[in-house]
Amino acid sequence: MDAPLLAIENLRTYFYSRAKRAFIRSVDGVSLGVTRGETLGIVGESGSGKSVTALSAAGLVTAGPGVISGRIHLNSNGASRNLLDGLEKYARVTEQDGRVVAVEKDERGWRRRSETLMAGVRGKEIAMIFQNPRSALNPYSTIGKQLVETIRLHTNLKRESEARERAIHWLDRVRIDSPRLRFDNFPFGMSGGMCQRAMIAMALSAEPSLLIADEPTTGLDATIQSRIVDLLAELKAETGITTLLISHDISVIQRLSDRIAVMYGGTVVETGRAAEVLAPEAKVRHPYTAALLASIPSAETIRRKSYLQAIEGEVLDTIEVPRGCRFYGRCNRVTEAIRENCAGLEPPLGEVAPGHKVRCWLYPSPGKA
């Protein structure tokens, strides 16, 4: 197997909360790899750090201090580059007992550096689609113009007329009716679903190596959501594009992902093949993944008219990170045998089966524990 298209290593993205005078550890040591041609789904509740992971990979984090350490390798066109190259020179992280106590970062300098690193990558190699597509498209420009702009920026079609034809072709591919007419529409005259189709067309029209879909169904009507999921599945089958899919909706992740990563409190708690991690009969499963799965309404629960199972407790605010397992406070599967570990020691991401890793003391990986 060749190198993954995108490899994130030990990424940490922090934000400073003036109100609380503390760092919010949005992403706290995440390592992920997206192999060419696959869809990696990142799932987790709001605040688990999944969107920030994606934004960090695209160099779109604007609040400070932002990305403070890690490496993001992009291997495309036979070249490998680290999108966080030289970050150490801009961010000095002071740690004490493995915890970050102070961050000094030349944010402006890093932003400039990051912009040079991302030039020719953002939009071209890594394209992104967002939630709330109606506000994500420029309201002052027709969708046609916005597509033409992307095409002329990133493909060798530089002539207006050629780019226009290509744009119409892409609008057609995302199943927009009468694309020639829609070309001249402004976003405000279109439905949310239509806008998301246009966003997808715009992202794919640059023929990127990696598509980051950040909550692509959030902010859309329920019926439109499943249409967009269908469309993404079809386009995936047609183009085979490598995708990093982010969603809090585990059913969306389930439908589209080859592999998944479950995030909680800024860390990956479980990762593996989607079929394996989400299989109903799986024996090894992180308690948080189990809780997420239990919160999906199934035909069975609807028939029995039973209540959905909410996850007890609040999402970790990642300001005061506990010494032990981050999920300990909400976990319902702590046994007396491991309680001491759970409360006092953060579990490692242990491999329980080939390619399947779980960060939980219930499943000590062979050789460790």
């Binding site: 991302m118 394209a127 002052y140």
Partner: protein
């Protein structure tokens, strides 16, 4: 596409022109009413010191052909105005319209020049602050601009007169009448500089442009522009720059006209403000009416420009 964009603009233009006509009518009625009700009769001013007897004034009135009733007077003025005749100045006897055109050019130079200067200073500061946040440089510049804006324009004007004209003798005292001299345009710069800096417009312009631009830069669609590798300014230009600039320009024209009255006094600038001042003291009704209408038309022109730009740029406005 292009043609479809012109239609809403011409519709907005037609609507604005109709509003302007109604507004000017309203302005003429109100100004006339105020003049009529205010104490002081132009005839008394004309006859002052010669004959206080009302009999003579009545005779004068008849000789001049002034109607007796207020509505008669207004109707007479309105009828002539429609034919492009704004009457003659009571003081000088010259026709009002050509006089207004003559001094209007000076006032236009002064206000538009100072507007341009204000923009020239405000735009870089506002854009830099919106794009980079509060750095030491732009905070200092903003602070300086705020202090200058808080300075009263007449005071600042006299300070400039004192320093540059009396102390250094760099400029002639009556800058407007120096127009025939060589490098005359240089002398024009002093009053323009004073009005542009100290009219209180500068700080509001910086604030408005900075707030609007930083709001737009935080919009989702700007993140999309960054994500697709497109230049941010290209996407932020319309909502973040063009619209706020025209908004603040049109909103500030009335204040600049007000400031112009003072600056023209200070610098002996032969503009409309000075003429208005003189006319008010003389109860020169035809001139006052003319100036009120021209000033109102000028203000409306600013609004009109703003509406046209907004409609041309904003697709939502054109579908109303």
């Amino acid at each position: 596409m292009k043609l479809a964009a012109i239609r809403p603009v011409s519709r907005a233009l037609a609507r604005e022109l109709a509003v302007t006509a109604l507004l000017l009518l309203g302005v003429s009625v109100v100004v006339f009413a105020i003049l009529y009700l205010a104490p002081g009769d132009p005839l008394n001013v004309l006859l002052e010191g010669q004959s206080p007897r009302s009999q003579l004034a009545l005779g004068m009135r008849e000789a001049l052909g002034v109607p007796q009733t207020w509505y008669g007077q207004y109707a007479a003025w309105f009828g002539k105005m429609l034919q492009g005749n704004f009457g003659n100045s009571i003081r000088t006897g010259l026709p009002v319209l050509p006089e207004l055109a003559r001094v209007g050019v000076y006032t236009l130079t002064l206000t538009l020049g100072s507007l341009a200067l204000t923009l020239l200073i405000a735009v870089p500061i506002a854009v830099h602050a919106a794009a980079h946040g509060g750095t030491a440089g732009n905070t200092a510049a903003t602070l300086a601009a705020y202090v200058l804006s808080a300075v009263p324009v007449f005071w600042f004007g006299y300070i400039v007169v004192y320093v540059f004209i009396h102390q250094f003798g760099m400029f002639p005292l009556i800058s407007g009448t120096a127009a025939k001299q060589e490098h005359a345009w240089l002398y024009f710069l002093v009053p323009i500089f004073v009005l542009g800096i100290a009219s209180g417009t500068l700080s509001e312009m910086i604030r408005h442009l900075r707030e609007e631009l930083s709001r737009v830069l935080a919009e989702d669609y700007i993140r999309t522009a960054r994500a697709k590798g497109a230049p941010v300014w290209r996407h932020a230009f319309k909502e973040g720059f063009l619209i706020p600039v025209t908004e603040i320009m049109s909103a500030k024209i009335p204040f600049l006209l007000g400031g112009a009255v003072i600056v023209e006094q200070v610098f002996n600038w032969p503009g409309m403000g000075r003429m208005a001042w003189q006319a008010a003291q003389d109860r020169d009704f035809p001139v006052i009416m003319g100036i009120a209408l021209v000033a109102a038309a000028f203000v409306r022109l600013g609004n009109l420009l703003q509406r046209v730009v907004f409609t041309a740029v904003n697709p939502r406005a054109s579908r109303e």
